[in-house]
Subunit: 171 residues, 4 copies
Amino acid sequence: VLHAVDDLLVEVGYAAMTIKGIAERAGVGRETIYRWWSNKAEILLEACAVDIDEDIEVPEAGPAAERLVRYLGSVTAFLTESTAGAAYRALVGEAQHDPAVRELVQSAALLTGGALRLLDELRAELPAMPERNLAVTQLLGPVHFAVLTGSRSPSARQLAAHAHCLLRAWG
Amino acid sequence: VLHAVDDLLVEVGYAAMTIKGIAERAGVGRETIYRWWSNKAEILLEACAVDIDEDIEVPEAGPAAERLVRYLGSVTAFLTESTAGAAYRALVGEAQHDPAVRELVQSAALLTGGALRLLDELRAELPAMPERNLAVTQLLGPVHFAVLTGSRSPSARQLAAHAHCLLRAWG
Amino acid sequence: VLHAVDDLLVEVGYAAMTIKGIAERAGVGRETIYRWWSNKAEILLEACAVDIDEDIEVPEAGPAAERLVRYLGSVTAFLTESTAGAAYRALVGEAQHDPAVRELVQSAALLTGGALRLLDELRAELPAMPERNLAVTQLLGPVHFAVLTGSRSPSARQLAAHAHCLLRAWG
Amino acid sequence: VLHAVDDLLVEVGYAAMTIKGIAERAGVGRETIYRWWSNKAEILLEACAVDIDEDIEVPEAGPAAERLVRYLGSVTAFLTESTAGAAYRALVGEAQHDPAVRELVQSAALLTGGALRLLDELRAELPAMPERNLAVTQLLGPVHFAVLTGSRSPSARQLAAHAHCLLRAWG
DNA sequence: CGCTAATCGAGACGGTACGTCAAGTCTTATT
DNA sequence: AATAAGACTTGACGTACCGTCTCGATTAGCG
């Protein structure tokens, strides 16, 4: 089922993805889907959560600059290239329409987990880093904004520039 | 019709807002709506674009720090408190589901217009500011991210901290 | 729609006749059917009532024996040969399953109308005829019973024998 | 299982009686039901056939008039008051929808057996009685018709009047 | 000023997905 | 080996909304 969701998401898009279609694609009865998930968002969340930790690498050693750049690159690749990333974007989109989905997404803390870990490790080197939540927001927000509302995904050069800005501000 | 859209958006949410409902609320035939807009996103865009320039103030004088903080506060208030902001969020959400809406939103450049103007004016004072697009992304991205995926809107203290980080990085 | 109901009734039988199927056969949206009828029984009733008065002839002149025999023949032909008769039988069947349909059928008094008229006209010639309802029941009951529970429809000879029994009893 | 069928038939009616419901009520797996009966009609037939011979008394001595009246009363009580009678009515109803059930019901000859026996015994006294099948039809048809399509079950007075009509016709 | 026309509201139409329900099949664990 | 339990695929249910269409009623412009 989760594979079918991924496939349909890239083939027809979220708006045209129906539970009926998922069921047929997965060779499964519609009832079975309703038995295990209560709405499309839950399916997406699962389709997304399975891959997110594998796809997004949190670099564990090396200079702070390199670790940030590699992490940002990893997040960007996830968001723009993987099917799980497409599911994540659809999920955030749905969260703007439906409060229940909003809570689901918030409580899953899909992206912020890895970022928090990374920043906590770097905090010793970066004395001016603000409190955890704000720091994560400053790290991920621009990438997120660019991917969700921009026409092109951020280039490697832009990611590097962003990382160096943060290092300068936090150093 | 646009008032009816605003009202329904806050009353029932985007997901439960139907064209049928809008028509009935506005005391208008459904056909009339189809005559002027081709989908829900276009109505939202219009409902949003009307107010966005009025609601978001771009401070025109004063110290850079104050201008940034006031601008960020204005953007945050728009996104979290106004009905036009709700329309904007719904629009960005829908853009994740439907490529046609994505293009519509991108070409409208709803938020970035004011930010570009402000940053261009401040560029003289901030020699390390990166290229325009990245700078806008760094300015707005975190607020956007916090509003779209967070549980609480950013506090005034957090906005100030963010502005000062940027000043430090760009100074 | 009513034609589609008649057709499907003889083609697939009542049990396999679905509203979905009727809609597709009639080239009509399902909602349209629900708009005009609230259940399958109401459609059948209409499909039946349209034809019943045309199909069942109530002989208006002639000797009592001949009038009774011709009327019984007409009823039998309707019940066993016409599509409206098939609808009537399905309706009576459904009435045994669903009290709402039962009331619908009773209030329509589909068959008894013509019989009452005929017997009222013959009453002058048949002094021992019992009260109207019982007389109708004695006239139609045996035909009804034979058609609903028997393997063969009553033959012309049997109908004649039945009519003469009644004349003898009522004469 | 048969008790559960009887109970559910009077509680919720045939239309709302599901095999799932029967299984749960009987504390039995659904598979077990499918193992022994191939459809709802067969279960009903069994639930009905068990009681029908006990419930309908065929008077064995006395004047012809009294025997007929008592027999008709017994049949009417069975059809309108017993749960087995409800099952019989549901069965006849289903027979109008499904040819397979129709054959099942015909071959069971549920009601006609006792009537044939009674009429054969009375034939000596009633020289004008027509051939067996027609006579049974004339005896039972009116009661059957009244119960299946009427709003009230026949009164004792009506049953007596019907019996005397038959005696007059057959005498 | 009166008449024709365009436009509007209302809502029926053919479609299609929804989420629910029961059917009948199949598997598993119990007895 | 037969059972109760229950997950499975299938498909109809009745509902909601879609976008199109046809209607009168209401305006508004033109003669």
